[in-house]
Each structure stands twice: as C-alpha cells, then as structure tokens.
C-alpha cells in the first residue's frame, strides 16, 4: 500500500537513510578516533606486555622509569625479554625550514621492538646506524609534499640532522602528528635533559607463561604497572572517553539522528495510515484479520527500513571509500559491528514509527468504511 504513495514512501526512505548515514558515519568516526588514541600501542606487535609507572593512566602521559626498573623487570620469572621504549614529542624541521611537532618513538637499539611492521620503503636494520630515523607516511607527505618516496633525505630534530632510512605505515595517532622512529639511545639525546627518559618497558612472556600472569608478577615484583598491550590500549581509549567531551558530542549527534529519524518516519508513517484508514477498514470488513493487517504494516515498515538502511550504509561506505587515500582520515572505517548496531537502531526506529500506526488500525472500527 505504501508504495502507492510515492511521496510518503520516498520521504520515509529518505528519513531512514539519513538517520542510518548519520548514525553509522558518526559512530565510525568516533570509533576510529578512539582507536587512534591507542595507535602507538597497536603498532607494537612483538611485545605483549607494557610496563610503566604505577600511576600511569594512558599512553600519552607518562612518568619515566629508571634503567634499574628495566633490569628488575628482566629478572621477573616468566619474562622472556624486556626492552626500553621511549615515547615523547619533539619538533622536526625540513631543509626548507618547514617545521612541525612530531611524536618521537625511541626503539630498543638492538631489537628495534615497537617499529610498525608495514615498511613502505627502506630497511629497518638501517635504523641501527647513528643519526638515522624512520618516518611515517604522513610526516613524509608533510615535509616532502607531492614527491615520491625516497630515502636519504634529512630532517633536523633538536639541532641534530637525522637521515631517513625507512618510510613506515604507522597507525594514525590521535593528534595526527607525524611519527618519527629512531633508536632509543638516539631518541633520549634528541629531547631535553631529564634524569630519567625511559617511558615504557616492553616485555614478552616466556613460552609456557600467560601474558596476564607475567604482567601480575612484574607488578608484584617491581611495584610498577604492567598490563597487556590490549588492556593498555583499552585503558587509553577509556581515558579519552571518560575525560574528554568527544563521546558526548558524537553521542548527541547519534541521538539526534535517532530522534529525528523516528519522529519523521513515525509522522510520515502515521499520516500514511490515517490517510488509508478507509482501505484498512475495508480490509477488516472484508474479513482480513487484525493480525494479518498488522503484519502488512510491519512488513511495509521493514521494507522501507531495509531500503533506507541499505541506502544509508551505502552512503557511509561511499564516504569512507572516497576518503580511503586521505592520510588525515586514516583509521576511520565502518566496522561490521557498527553496521549491526545501526541496523538495530533502524529496527527500533521502524518499530516505533509503526507502533502508533498499528495501534490506530487495531482499534479501527471496520464500519468506518460505510461512513461518508
């Protein structure tokens, strides 16, 4: 019946598609943004345990450990190996004078644990040479815009000139700054003088030991905080969720999409029902049961819901496909969980939109068809 009224049919589909797009798009951006907060953690694949000061809340705010801590961690039963990791910020300057703040990662001189696995150009081993660095793609495109990837170029960090020996594909950081990777000993020389420079210790549990158990042993044995990389990533994400206005802002948008979608769809659906009361009354008079009419209404609601949902998801997918090559939008993508969650929200919209109409039809006296 609904397809017979093209204006309302299209209006319903547009309302649901718009809501779907807004919800799936905003939740995708939010999840991508939150995932970015843990990008430096996610890029460490070789170590499973992160050790840090006991009061550390998230990855971007650290109190340095001592070298002694590193040795104590190595002595804990179940630790196969433990290496230092420096994480800080610095300022890089190109040959043309262009400069930008960078995230500086200092990797263990020997193992280079913490370097992203995806290397676009160059050789990770060359990082062991003095005055060398690996730069992520965002940094390369900032300092050398429009130029093909090439090794041997230099950047100045704290008046030291470092040669680019590798270009890596790192996860997009929350603040979207370039990421520079260099040896640990090199990194601590590049930043200001502090008595201690050891941001984190990355460790790996020995064969036969469970990561969580080893983390607990490290914590008990050293008084430091030791958690798995996954747990630390979630701690960081929750820190940003609990301490910033980001979830509220995105949440408001999603709620508005839900409310506007429900109101517009509900009103349109109700108008359609009211305008077709005679037809519904005729069906009831003819002998079509209430249950069958309810199924008709719900089926129509589900069809417009499915079409609107499909269009909305397609719009969101098109957005992320169109921006896939934009480095500033790295890490933003629509997850299957978001599609499922949005489908649930659309189902709720459709259910609420049709509920009032269903009630109106159920209480309808079939004798209405004989009234003028």
């Amino acid at each position: 019946m609904l397809t017979g009224d093209k204006a309302k049919y299209l209006g319903l589909i547009f309302a649901i598609a718009f809501s779907t797009f807004l919800m799936s798009h905003q939740v995708s951006i939010f999840c991508g943004l939150m995932n970015r907060t843990a990008s430096q953690i996610n890029d460490v694949h070789d170590a499973s345990i992160w050790v840090m000061d006991a009061k550390t809340q998230y990855v971007d705010e650290v109190k340095a450990l001592t070298d002694q801590d590193l040795y104590r961690i190595r002595g804990v039963e179940g630790v196969e190996w433990a290496v230092p990791l420096f994480k800080g910020t610095s300022r890089a300057k190109g040959a043309d004078g262009k400069f930008r703040g960078v995230i500086l990662m200092g990797l263990d001189d020997s193992s280079l644990v913490g370097l992203p696995r995806s290397i676009r150009l160059g050789d990770a081993k060359a990082l062991r040479d003095p005055e060398t660095m690996a730069l992520d793609e965002t940094g390369y495109r900032f300092f050398f815009p429009g130029e093909p990837y090439a090794l041997g170029r230099t950047l100045d960090l704290n008046d030291r000139t470092l040669k680019i020996v590798a270009i890596v594909n790192s996860s997009a950081p929350f603040v979207n700054l370039p990421v520079v990777y260099t040896k640990y000993t090199q990194a601590v020389q590049l930043v200001g003088r502090e008595r201690n420079q050891l941001s984190f210790v990355l460790a790996r549990s020995a064969q036969g030991f469970n990561d969580e158990d080893v983390a607990r042993r490290i914590g008990a044995g050293t008084g430091l905080k030791a958690v798995t990389g996954e747990a630390f990533g979630w701690e960081t994400i929750w820190y940003y969720i609990n301490n910033t206005g980001i979830p509220i802002n995105f949440g408001i948008t999603v709620v508005i999409a839900l409310v506007v979608g429900t109101v517009v769809a509900g009103q349109t659906f109700y108008l359609f029902t009211v305008e077709n009361l005679k037809q519904f009354g005729a069906l009831k008079a003819i002998g079509v049961s209430d249950w069958r009419i309810v199924r008709m209404i719900l089926m129509q609601a589900l069809i417009v819901g499915a079409v609107g949902y499909g269009l909305g998801i397609a719009m969101t997918a098109t957005f992320f496909a169109a921006t896939a090559d934009n480095l500033d939008l790295r890490g933003f993508r629509m997850l299957p969980q978001i599609m499922v969650g949005t489908a649930g929200a659309v189902f709720l919209i459709v259910f609420l939109a049709s509920a009032i109409s269903v009630r109106r039809v159920i209480v309808l006296e079939p004798a209405v068809v004989f009234r003028g």
Binding site: T3, G4, Q279, L283, I286, S289, A367, V369, G372
Partner: protein, 213 residues
Amino acid sequence: MKVLRGVDFNVPVGEMTFLVGPSGCGKTTLLSVIAGLLNPSSGSLAVLGTEMAEVKGARAVEFRRKNLGFVFQQFNLLPALTAAENAAVPLLAAGWKRKTAVEKGAALLDELGLGHRAKALPNTLSGGQQQRVAFARALIHEPKLIVCDEPTSALDAETGHYVMELLRKIAVRPERAVLVVTHDNRIFPFADRIAHMNDGLVERVESSTGGTH
C-alpha cells in the same frame, strides 16, 4: 443514542433489495449491523440463518470473509495493488496462493469486461472501472450476501446505470441476497424490493411485483 428502532425487515435470497431513505435515517447503520460490523444493543439479527449475536471476534471476521461481499461508496481499492490483485484480496485473506488467487481475479475481471486492465493500478482506472474491480472483489469468493453502499454515488448517471446493470447481471443468483443502500432514485428500477427507512425505522417495503407491506 438509538439510531435504529423497530426495524423488522427481511432480505430474501435471489433478489436485489434496496434500502433507501433520507440522509441520517439509519441506512448505513443498518447496513453495518447486517454486515456484522456493528452489534445491535437489543433485538435479534440473523444473517444466512446465523444469529449474529453469537458470532463475535475472530468468528465474526471469518463469517464475513466466507459469506459476505462488500461494495463501498468510494471503492476503497488498495492503491499499490493491480486490479487483479485487488479483486483477489478476499481469496488472499482466506489463505489462497497468490498466483492462483490473482489468476482467478483476472478471469473475473475479464467476465466484467475489464480483462485488458487486470494489471493496471487503481489510480489509472476510471470511476466505472474501479467500481467493476470492486464488484469483482465482492464476488470472487462467491459470498451468499453482497452489501453495497451507495455504489453509484461516485459515478455519473450513464456509468451508474451501466454498473447497476452489470451488478444485477452478475451478482443476483438464486442462492444469494444482494442488499444495496442508496439514495439515487435513478437506479431504483433495478431493485426487486425496496425498503424505505425514516428516522431509524423501516416504514414500508415495496416489491417490484407491486406488493407493499
């Protein structure tokens, strides 16, 4: 408020009975009661030998589905369904397979001279054509009682005359009663019997053979 009072009235099978009277006299209410769409507050009503007071809820729906055919003033066709699908609605409601039901709907439309428009949507049909689709919907399940509410009021005189001829030809059967509510005196000659109502009462019933009671 009592709309009907002292109604004593029979609709015989094999005839077309008209229920006529001024606006507000209770014709539509009486039609609704006879069709089982409203329950009388007192008195008794038997339709096709069944006491309607005993038929309620789902049983009333089933009774209407099996035994009654409806023709409405404004046709009330479903706008998204084709003419054949609209005609097939009572069969679909009875659980027939869609294909079989629609084929039967198309065949009946053919009998009504509308076979070539079986796949047309209602909004592309003229008033007379829509009424013929409504006739097909009322007849397709071969009901024993057909109730028609002002079947010609939305049609011009010529078309109204034509559809009443058609209705008489295809609807009146020895085993079936046809009840038409109308105030269109141009179609009175099609009636076998005319019940005149006024102020909630059936004042008199005229037969086409000349009898009055």
